[in-house]
Symmetry: C2
Subunit: 354 residues, 2 copies
DNA sequence: GGCATGAATATAATCGTTTCACTTGCTGCG
DNA sequence: CGCAGCAAGTGAAACGATTATATTCATGCC
């Protein structure tokens, strides 16, 4: 492959002139510029980005550290990141930790988890990336991860405990409050909650949102209406079963994610309960299948792409040396009202399951 | 950040010795090696991979060109690729074309499509990747994409018309034949097909599989049982409606993907048909929600991760100069038998819809 | 005319490695 | 003893760009 030196010889100018002609950083006469351009065309010359990087110590590469590319929100977030980075001429080096398969039980292997993350950061540093975006799905706060030396790090989706880190997340509490209010406005008084894994901070935030909505409407939250799941379909199925077995079952269920909501659907079908006539159900995540369930599931759509776009923007700001990059940006979610909820005709009347 | 020169001074040896000590390519006395290692530890020295790349003209980076990272099989394929590449010490540069949003109607904008792909390849070449894996979801054969100069290109998921290209795909025809046979063995005689977009070669292959199974069993394929969809949920819903309205409706439906199968579920629920008692349904793709539908959907799981692993392996072979890298590898799919199918009790007896 | 000014161009140092070619000093053998 | 052979170590030339500095030459102004 041709080099600048060859172009210089072909165009009968110095390499410096070739460099200036191509970069436009300094004036070059029209005549010489033309000669250079012709030589470039003739030889199909391509600038060697490696040599350029060595000289300028800028690689134009951003590292994306994904806990697992297969994770639900991750592809959309990466899509947003790649869009924003491409617009600014950066490339994207992906480090995929595969934590979904390796550390399935994430609540008990924190040190191995941290180790994986740090190794990933190490690898990206070795590749001389100019910045790192960490797409973290972990549902606990992280503060032990290694701060890469000299290059900015932005958290996307989940955030860090480190007060001077930059992160872009979404509104958990407000969103659950909103969807719960929606049910209350439709006349529901007996609203149950199927929560996520109890140890998860995400569960706590969403629970707080649910509490806020119920308290705000002066509605009770009997303990038997608060069911603990583990984010999986199966637990939604089981907890819905427990709810339907109550002497006074709920008229509406808020599931903390769509998978558990789908579990409710299955249990309801099994028990002959019709959604939304006999029971309203809402989820969280707006997974692709939410619209495919019958009836289509009312749920909350996360601003995943926007998280990616914004995280990339924050990183670019840091790289530009912009002052006052916001520490934590919390993006709003969108309520997707579909057909799994219905206004209660005789609000307040007891209804018996099965 | 420290350089080899500084290490050399600190350890009182030449830079050449430092390089040899670190790479292990030449014998270095234990004494000097120790001094080098100490200096490395002391200064927290990291080899500059850019300088190394410049000197050796090897970057250790593989480009992954994804038509859209959000596409159904893509994250799993990328997961497989990243696993195999990481094992071999390669990094992964991701170029995401976002074609899902940009070229929605893929059947009419071929030239813009090719342009995007070629620009993506260009970008990866500029970054000096050592090889490219093209994760193509396009459902037509591609032969106009630019062959990158000097670096190997492997197709994953879809293949190319170019006879001397390397690709890794999956078994379309055999898989649909298998799932259809499964229905036939259960006594179904009136089996309908909801096909994908008629222009797609994938549709043609899957149709051929269906035909093979039906022909093999000597069963008729009346034209009203062959319905054309477009891969979307909505079309499954509509075509299922058309099938149920027939005077002699089918007892089983093969949908060419899970989204359209979900559409069948919705139509069946609307019409009061129970799955699998009144109707058996099978899909294709094993999307996450297939197990969440009620009843869980029998479908075909693509070997996505395996496609990624294998494609990466093929590329590594090419890089190693291994002779006889197989041109096209076709991986088997897995039949996921769940609860959406049931043996017909009185096989052959007419059954009326609704 | 003399001289400062500025544009266009060239020269050469530099980025941090790898690796070829060479020196040095030691061992073993005829 | 002399010399081949080998291991350990060094020096310096690449790799292919960027860019500070120097050079040349035309121009404008007093």
């Amino acid at each position: 492959m041709a080099t600048m030196k060859e172009i210089a010889e072909l165009a009968n100018v110095s390499v410096a002139t070739v460099s200036y002609a191509l970069s436009g950083k300094k004036n070059v006469s029209q005549a010489k510029r033309d000669r250079v351009m012709n030589a470039v065309r003739l030889t199909n010359y391509k600038l060697n980005s490696i040599a350029k990087s060595l000289r300028t110590s800028k690689t134009g590469i951003i590292g994306v550290l994904a806990e697992d590319i297969r994770g639900l929100p991750v592809p959309e977030i990466v899509d947003g990141i790649s869009q924003r980075l491409t617009e600014s001429g950066y490339q994207l080096l992906l480090s995929n930790l595969q934590l979904l398969s390796k550390l399935y039980n994430r609540y008990e292997q924190l040190s191995r988890y941290i180790g994986s993350v740090n190794r990933g950061i190490q690898l990206l540093e070795d590749a001389r990336v100019e910045g790192i975006i960490y797409v973290a799905m972990h549902d606990r706060r992280i503060d032990d991860i290694r701060q890469p030396a000299g290059i900015p790090l932005v958290f996307a989706y989940a955030d860090s405990d480190d007060p001077n880190s930059v992160s872009v997340t979404y509104e958990n509490q407000r969103s659950v409050a909103a969807v719960t209010c929606c049910l209350i406005e439709q006349g529901h008084r007996r609203v149950a909650l199927i929560a996520g894994h109890p140890a998860s901070p995400v569960t706590k935030e969403r629970l707080a949102g649910f509490r806020a909505a119920m308290d705000g409407a002066g509605l009770p939250m009997p303990p038997e209406y608060l069911r603990w799941g583990d984010w999986e379909y199966r637990s939604g199925f089981e907890q819905a079963g427990a709810l339907f077995a109550l002497t006074v079952p709920p008229t509406a269920i808020v599931a903390m994610n769509d998978a558990m909501a789908a579990g409710c659907y299955a249990q309801a079908a099994l028990q002959g309960l019709r959604i939304p006539d006999d029971l309203s159900v809402v989820g969280f995540d707006n997974q692709s299948f939410a619209a495919y369930l019958y009836p289509p599931l009312t749920t909350i759509a996360l601003p995943n792409k926007q998280i990616g776009l914004t995280a990339a923007q924050r990183l670019l700001w840091k790289l530009e040396g912009k002052p006052d990059v916001p520490a934590n940006t919390v993006l709003p979610c969108e309520l997707m009202v579909r057909e799994s909820t219905r206004a209660l005709p005789g609000a307040g009347q007891p209804r018996s399951a099965r």
